[in-house]
Amino acid sequence: MSGLSDAAVTRLRTLGRWPEFESGRYSVIEEIGRGGMGTVYLAIDDELEREVAIKIPNALASADLEDRLQREARVLATLEHPGIVPIHDLGRLADGRLFYVMKRVKGRTLREHARDVADAGERLRLFERILEPVAFAHAQGFIHRDLTPGNIMVGRFGEVMVMDWGIAKSVSELRQSTVDGRQSSPPASEVNAGGTAEGVVVGTVGFMAPEQARGAGETVDQRADVYGLGGILFFLFTAGSPVPDADPFALMRQRGVARPLSAVCARALAKDPQQRYQTVAELAADVAAYRNGRAVSAYCETTLERAARFGRVHRTAILLVLAYMLMRTAVALLAGR
């Protein structure tokens, strides 16, 4: 018998890493995602005979990772919304690691999905669907703190799910940690996307609000998520990540994005939280206004731009009036002969 191929050896090593469930209720099918904190497996729930996703911390005996996974599970259990993945179960593996079971979300990340969405209107509608669960979480007192195109799943029917609540915090928790003088963030080594960070920060470089990047826990609130959403809007129209110290308005304009929408994005990405939209609802209102041809609060139009916008919105009515006037003129001319 000839030896196993390199691919088979690699596969067997991977299989050996898969979690073992003491209850025997779940059978792993594949690894479907791996991050700094944990790995997500596709599995079969043998009791209910359905596919589920199971998240497990990467390291054994890590109190910090276990704490975060438990917190994430609780956040998901609290946030019941169609745009937030529901949690089904929480348990421990044979090796003692905590795991939680959630709905298996079929689809692609926004990063992948956006490549196939050419229509600007459709991109905006997609963005609005992302705003809803985030606004809901804020209303429940939770901040996501890591909103990126990679953490948004888009289903087959265009449904949107905001994923990866592993570093989410409740507003009260953030305030309490500031009062206690404790750091509210995990270690710097857990910054995503290969970014280097000074001090204690958590999030993804490019989509992380400046106050979050500084590790300034006391000023991190829902406006940090507004910044992340601004980053997602920027991504949807440029296919890139926001560039620190670059003007997002100018970059959007270079890509041919309309001034009002570029201004909306720039306001969401303002470095100073005071200059940003203060809530997701404000951002959503401006996006809806732009989509419906109304003026946005982030952009001061010139008279010409206002007239042009009026013309675009009321194009049919204007054409009808013009046609009517033309006809009346023609009738008057004919009658005058």
């Binding site: 018998m1 000839s2 030896g3 196993l4 191929s5 088979a8 050896v9 596969r11 067997l12 090593r13 299989l15 050996g16 890493r17 898969w18 073992e20 059978s27 792993v28 099918i29 079969i44 043998d46 005979e49 054994l60 005996a61 090796d95």
Partner: protein
């Protein structure tokens, strides 16, 4: 079809380290332990001699046979000191020294006589050597480790196949072979289910069972080939990322 629970009779008793067992005063126990070590290490040694030392087929065969025969007769492996290196590294270094000595007295290289010949499948090992690109060779230690893992998994997979065949239940292993070991592009659970007259959930359950058995057997075999429990835990963590008792 539901998978059997094979945790009972099919699972071999936890193996003690073969390195400990070769120090046993009982000659039969020593011979058996030595056989386990040869089984786990002969292929890495042979491939190391062929590809790192660039020996030709005949020399590598003779040296591999000679190395293990000498090790048995002169009790080299019993001299292993866990504090100094992993057992795997110790074996490789011993093989290097042996090859160096043989090269220095090249007249002794073509021997054949006087060496008790072990029944080793050199032709099979040679096919594996031939399939390897000699230009893409890693560092000797890394290469030896890769081949050690391959030999370990080869043995475990062969034992696993025999286990399922002995029980008259070859399908779980066949599924494992088709999906995990030699997958054809695009193979799916649904496809295998249709082919074997199972539901996709049964395919999943059968695969989960064989994978679990593979891991149990691999850890057990690994435990037998490590010098100490500490080394075994380290190797298991490296192999599967697992913390084991």
């Amino acid at each position: 079809m539901e998978p059997d629970d094979m945790r009972g009779g099919g699972f071999p008793a936890t193996r003690h380290s073969a390195i400990e067992r070769i120090r046993d005063g009982n000659p039969e126990a020593r011979r058996e332990a030595f056989g386990d070590l040869v089984e786990g290490y002969w292929k890495p040694v042979y491939k190391h001699l062929r590809l790192t030392w660039r020996l030709d087929v005949e020399d590598a065969r003779d040296l591999t046979q000679g190395f293990f025969a000498d090790a048995f007769q002169k009790s080299w492996l019993e001299r292993y000191e866990p504090g100094k290196a992993k057992f795997r590294t110790f074996v490789r270094v011993c093989a290097d020294r042996f090859a160096m000595n043989m090269r220095q007295s090249s007249s002794r290289l073509k021997r054949g006589g006087g060496v008790q010949t072990l029944p080793l499948d050199f032709d099979g090992a040679e096919r594996e050597v031939a399939s390897r690109d000699p230009r893409a060779m890693p560092e000797p230690e890394e290469f030896f480790h890769q081949e050690f893992v391959r030999a370990l998994f080869d043995k475990v997979v062969a034992d696993l196949r025999a286990e399922y065949e002995d029980r008259g239940r070859p399908i779980p292993f066949t599924l494992f072979e088709r999906y995990d070991l030699e997958p054809v592009e695009g193979v799916s659970y649904a496809q295998l289910a249709a082919e074997f007259g199972l539901t996709p959930t049964q395919v999943t359950n059968n695969l989960a069972q064989v994978r679990r058995r593979f891991r149990e057997r691999a850890l057990d075999a690994l435990r037998g080939l490590c010098g100490t429990d500490q080394e075994f835990r380290r190797e298991a963590r490296d192999l599967f990322g697992l913390e084991v008792e």
